[in-house]
């Protein structure tokens, strides 16, 4: 029987689709009978979805600083384009 601690360790791989069929099955079985781990996996999944957006928006002064730098670089480069990368 899988232990709760192992469920926590494998949750990342489960959600990334990286577990083998056998591992996934063992984990699913555990989650059916263990409500704590069921809750862990469910809330962990929501948390991962929130991470890309956790930084919030830049302030207007940050935006205008970037815009100024971009404009200045445009001017000094003339019409050149296409950096490598």
């Amino acid at each position: 029987m899988l232990k709760c601690r192992e469920v926590v360790h494998q949750a990342d791989a489960l959600l990334a689709g990286e577990l083998s069929g056998r591992e996934r099955f063992a984990l699913r079985m555990h989650i059916i009978i263990c409500r704590h781990c069921r809750r862990y996996v469910k809330q962990f999944r929501h948390l991962l979805r929130a991470i890309p957006r956790m930084h919030g928006q830049a302030s207007e002064s940050e935006v205008s600083r970037v815009m100024t730098a971009v404009k200045n670089a445009d001017k000094s480069m003339g019409g050149q384009s296409n950096p490598s990368g």
Binding site: K3, C4, R5, E6, V8, H9, D12, H36, C37, R39, Y40, K42, Q43, F44, H46, L47, L48, R49, A50, I51, P52, R53, M54, H55, G56, Q57, A58, E62, V63, S64, R65, V66, M67, A69, V70, A73, D74, M77, Q80, S81, N82, P83, G85
Partner: protein
């Protein structure tokens, strides 16, 4: 009602539309700063991201949309970060730290929960992000997190890069990359769980 997230207008960005570009900066600048900070440190992060925006602005007309814009921008930031490190003869070192697992104290010896997670009131991503105080707690935790863990979180989870690419760009093995990411994520989990239980960081 105003939408919280404005989708990037790729057509307008390719045309070089100024307001589309400032919307792009507004949406991604903070995340890119966090990525750069995790790689080069806070003192050089601003310069790295500034240069990345200049490169991105020039390269946008050729953006093909094969990856998400955030991922594309993150790659440019990594390039700039590596250039700066090379110039200053520094190296990125993403070593494993000796910290114990963030949730280690939540299990009994036999491996079962001693203190299971609480039920989160509003567990949806929107629900989590709307709570101002929780957002502040999260940013404080990110600042305090060891740089290697934070780098993995920013590159993989916030930036959307694949493990392969991260391991190629920065010197780190795939298994260490996974351990670092797991620790970073479970630290966040622990914080949110604690906040949901107590209303405090």
């Amino acid at each position: 009602m105003r939408a919280e997230v404005v989708p990037d207008d790729i057509q307008a960005l390719r045309r070089g539309d100024d307001s589309a570009f400032s919307a792009l900066v507004r949406a991604h600048h903070r995340a890119l700063l966090a990525t750069a900070t995790a790689i080069v440190g806070i003192d050089d992060a601003e310069e790295v991201v500034q240069n990345a925006w200049i490169k991105a602005h020039k390269a946008l007309p050729g953006f093909e949309g094969r990856s998400a814009l955030r991922t594309w921008l993150t790659r440019i930031v990594i390039n700039e970060a590596r250039m700066l490190l090379r110039k200053s003869r520094r190296e990125v070192s993403l070593q494993l730290d000796e910290d114990q697992h963030p949730l280690a104290d939540r299990f009994r010896e036999g491996g079962h929960w001693s203190k299971p997670p609480v039920t989160w009131h509003d567990e949806s991503p929107d629900g989590l992000l709307m709570q101002r105080e929780l957002a502040d707690c999260l940013s404080r935790l990110l600042l305090a997190m060891p740089a290697p863990q934070r780098a993995m979180l920013e590159l993989r989870d916030a930036g959307g890069l694949e493990f392969d690419e991260i391991c190629n760009e920065l010197t780190i093995t795939a298994s260490n990359a996974r351990v670092l990411l797991h620790r970073a994520r479970t630290q966040l989990f622990k914080l949110v769980d604690h906040y949901q239980e107590t209303g405090e960081c």
